[in-house]
Symmetry: C2
């Protein structure tokens, strides 16, 4: 299991277009720019609790989108298959084996 911050960075990357402007701002400052909850609260003149609640709700939304669309899960599978393919080419494996990996990639949406 990967670290929660790394996972949230990925989920935010995949689904940020589905978030509202405010959710986007808080998440970008917290996860990408590494601001503290207190710094975000001061900057927007809101309570630290309000920022905390907003970010927790957004994290839950991102997990719900991932449960429905599986973009991060598929991305990891795709990268793993491409890595296999790359190694097989470097090791000069036969075409039939390469084609089997390509077929697996075609089946991933």
């Amino acid at each position: 299991m990967i670290d929660k911050t790394v996972r949230m960075n990925y989920l935010f990357d995949f689904y940020q277009e589905l978030l509202t402007g405010k959710q986007n701002q808080y998440m970008a400052l917290y996860y990408l720019d590494d601001w503290s909850l207190g710094e975000i609260a001061d900057y927007f003149s809101v309570s630290r609790q309000a920022v905390y609640d907003n970010i927790r709700r957004t994290e839950a939304m991102l997990e719900q989108y991932e449960e429905k669309l599986h973009l991060f899960e598929r991305f990891e599978k795709k990268q793993s298959l491409l890595k296999d393919l790359r190694q097989m080419i470097e090791n000069d494996r036969n075409p039939a084996e390469l084609i089997r990996v390509i077929e697996a990639l075609e089946k991933l949406e």
Copy 2:
């Protein structure tokens, strides 16, 4: 430009998890099972206009999701690159060329 029905079938496939139960039912009957608006209206005891409006709104939602997430667009790019790769392997092209296509695939999210 592909036919609208084909496009809607793809968009529905990619984003159906984001639709409500009713939207899903109408779209599946109309696009996958090829029912007419009148048949759907009779089955659910609602007006033909209500079914029409619901389906048109759902189509607009699917296009909005595609504008934001580009899943269908990326799927087409991925399939096209995999097709190239398959042909290059069948034509015994050199590893460096294959690796370049794999790099393009890795950059697609």
